[in-house]
Amino acid sequence: MPVTLRYPFTELEAPPEYRGLPHIDPKLCIGCGACVNACPPDAILRIDDYDRGTRKIVLDIGRCIRCARCEEVCPTGAIRLTNLFEAASPDRRDHIEVVELRLVRCKVCGNYTDFTERQVKKALQILPKEILEEEALEEKVFICRNCRRKGTVDATINATKEVVL
């Protein structure tokens, strides 16, 4: 009986627990960048473009070492290690996976902030509804860091003026 695998001429599936090629599910990804911070070999990148108002999450399979730390930290379960393994290619650009998401535009100054719209939706889902009112929150959320700081400082100054007067 021949022992040799007939592999390149037949299909073959890796076992389910095999750590194969990572894949980002674009429907679930919120662009938080937790995987970018966790990735030991910097295979995942976060590129913010404040002129066009987009954030790119770029995954390079050719740099990935299959450690599954990204899967461990992903809050939505968007990035997963599949059990696919056939990644050989003559072109390195085939190993790239890009997810491009929209950034939030500040309601006050009109510049782009450094968080995505999906991140805001996820954060609103996590926040306890009993403590905070959602309507009041939605006014405060879509403001960039500078404008929020300015608003806080102005409010404090006005409050002190009232006390002094």
């Binding site: 090629l21 429907k27 679930l28 050719g62 790239i96």
Partner: protein, 272 residues
């Protein structure tokens, strides 16, 4: 691959440029009778002067640089195929910013460029700048790649199979889903993190899903605490796995700790 060379039997030379030996062991594997790359005509030769293709592993350390250059120059001028095996050789891998890794001055420091640079491509570009001919390059990422993956790469080189992977670019148009769990999302994330310390990333989602179903059932009844205890006892009796029943007990305690704190309006330790 454009200008596909007619390849019948590829003689390969195996070159290690500072790899951890994982990829080299996989290369030994494909020559065993089980995987048997020799049926595709692959033969391992002892000198680069006899080789059509070079199987390169490793992130290209500076000590290996000149040796590797000499070995590639010693190959016959055509076809000079480079089979890049392993994540390290493809792009530097986990060693990408190590001090002994060779990088071209033109490549500069590691930035936001993609595909990520590093590895053997630096040497190949140096050789091409010098006017040397270097034939087709095939990249086989993996840390280490499975023997099947290497076989697949070699079969692709010989024109037996087509490549399966394509570069992908998704934009906001694909739509967005925010999956709703049966329990409070804040509690779910805390339990998920707690479970990671006990069972790791791979099994935790399945266990947590089962637990959330039990919680959903228990919350509908009048006495949720006793009901959940009873349900978990039943579940454990059915599963008969000590590890899972330990996780279930742990999750139960954690769930009531967090939920009581939340419903009392108190702050709880979020990341345990």
């Amino acid at each position: 691959m454009s200008a596909k060379p007619k390849l019948r039997s590829v003689w390969v030379f195996h070159l290690n440029t500072g790899a951890c030996n994982g990829c080299d062991i996989e290369i030994l594997d494909i020559l065993t009778p089980f995987y048997d790359a020799e049926r595709l005509g692959v033969k391992l030769v002892g000198s680069p002067r006899h080789a059509h293709a070079m199987l390169v592993t490793g992130p290209l350390t500076r000590q290996c640089y000149h040796g590797a250059k000499k070995a590639i120059k010693a190959m016959p001028p055509k076809p000079r195929i480079i089979v890049v095996i392993g994540t390290c050789a493809c792009s530097g891998g986990i060693f990408y910013n190590g001090y002994p890794i060779y990088r071209r001055p033109e490549s500069g420091r590691e930035g936001c460029e993609y595909p990520r640079r590093g590895g053997i491509i630096e040497l190949i570009e140096d050789l091409r700048d010098e006017g040397e001919y270097v034939g087709p390059v095939i990249y086989i990422p993996g840390c280490p790649p499975r023997p099947e993956e290497i076989l697949y790469g070699i079969a692709q080189l010989l024109g037996l199979v087509e490549k399966k992977l394509e570069g992908e670019h998704y934009t906001e148009e694909v739509g967005f889903e925010l999956p709703e769990a049966p329990i409070n999302e804040r509690i779910r994330l805390t339990l998920r993190e707690k479970l990671r310390h006990v069972v790791g990333y791979f099994d935790r989602d399945k266990i947590l899903e089962d637990f959330m179903e039990l919680v959903k059932k228990a919350e509908e009844s009048e006495k949720p605490k006793e009901e959940l205890k009873k349900l978990i006892d039943e579940y454990n009796a059915k599963i008969r796995d000590v590890r899972i029943s330990f996780c279930m007990r742990l999750l139960e305690n954690e769930y009531w700790r967090v939920r009581d704190a939340l419903s009392a309006g108190k702050e709880f330790v979020y990341w345990v």
